[in-house]
């Protein structure tokens, strides 16, 4: 339990830091960057895919061993950096129109995937094959993987 509080504390510090330093020269240098956009989503995809696989393998242990939070943390750091880069910008400068269009497509796709995944996970749970505790990790990892994976695909190929 202490580890969860430490991780939560780190998360709060990250967001506070992002808020405080959002108008700093460092933040201003983090311009709307194609690399930042891609790296953020690659990190999210890797962390959430790994989390999904480990949840299937480890079951409840993924929560008790705190791997769940540890896998989400790099993704959250990447998003905080993205938030820093975009906070002081107008809507048009946050993401270019292709990125916005791709994000909408990715959101629609991941919404459909999550609905389907929820059904599958519930069916497996109903059959008594795993405990309800890992519902949330499975769903969040599915949502993140589907969103970031499809966003990267649409960005490159759309």
């Amino acid at each position: 339990m202490e580890v969860k509080f430490i991780l939560l504390f780190i998360l709060v510090l990250l967001f506070l830091g992002a808020w405080v330093f959002s108008n700093s020269s460092f933040a201003k240098k983090l311009i709307m960057s194609e690399k930042l956009f891609q790296v953020t989503n690659i990190v999210l995809l890797i962390c959430s895919s790994a989390g999904f696989v480990l949840t299937i393998i480890m079951g409840d242990e993924i929560l008790t061993s705190h791997i769940f939070e540890l896998l989400l943390l790099p993704a959250l750091v990447a998003f905080v950096l993205t938030g820093l880069a975009h906070k002081s910008k107008t809507a048009d400068e946050k993401f270019d129109e292709k990125q916005q269009s791709n994000m909408k497509d990715a959101a629609s796709f991941s919404w459909m995937v999550v609905i389907f995944a929820t059904f599958i996970i519930y069916a497996i749970y109903y059959a008594g094959n795993f405990s309800g505790l890992i519902f949330f990790p499975l769903l969040i990892y599915t949502a993140f993987s589907a969103y970031s994976g499809s966003l990267l695909y649409f960005y490159k190929n759309g």
Partner: protein, 80 residues
């Protein structure tokens, strides 16, 4: 009807401006310029105008409509 463009030709005619330089000039990512040139992404009117302004030409010189046989669709402006 589909939208096509000569963006790549314009870049090459103007001293070989890179995709990145054009992207920075009009405020989008390089991937957006790549997708426009490949015909995978249709820019907004705003972006098309910014690109035309960058090349100091009209939007219709860069972007145009094509029919099913890839022929340019031309029309005459009847009233002004």
């Amino acid at each position: 009807m589909k939208l096509a463009n000569d963006l790549r030709n314009f870049r090459e005619k103007r001293g070989g401006i890179s995709q990145e330089a054009l992207a920075n000039a009009v405020g989008v990512s390089r991937q957006t310029i790549i997708s426009i040139e490949k015909g995978r992404f249709i820019p907004s009117a705003f972006l098309a105008l910014k690109i035309a302004k960058f090349f100091d030409t009209s939007v219709e010189d860069i972007f145009y409509l094509i029919d099913g046989q890839n022929n340019k669709i031309r029309w005459r402006v009847k009233w002004k």
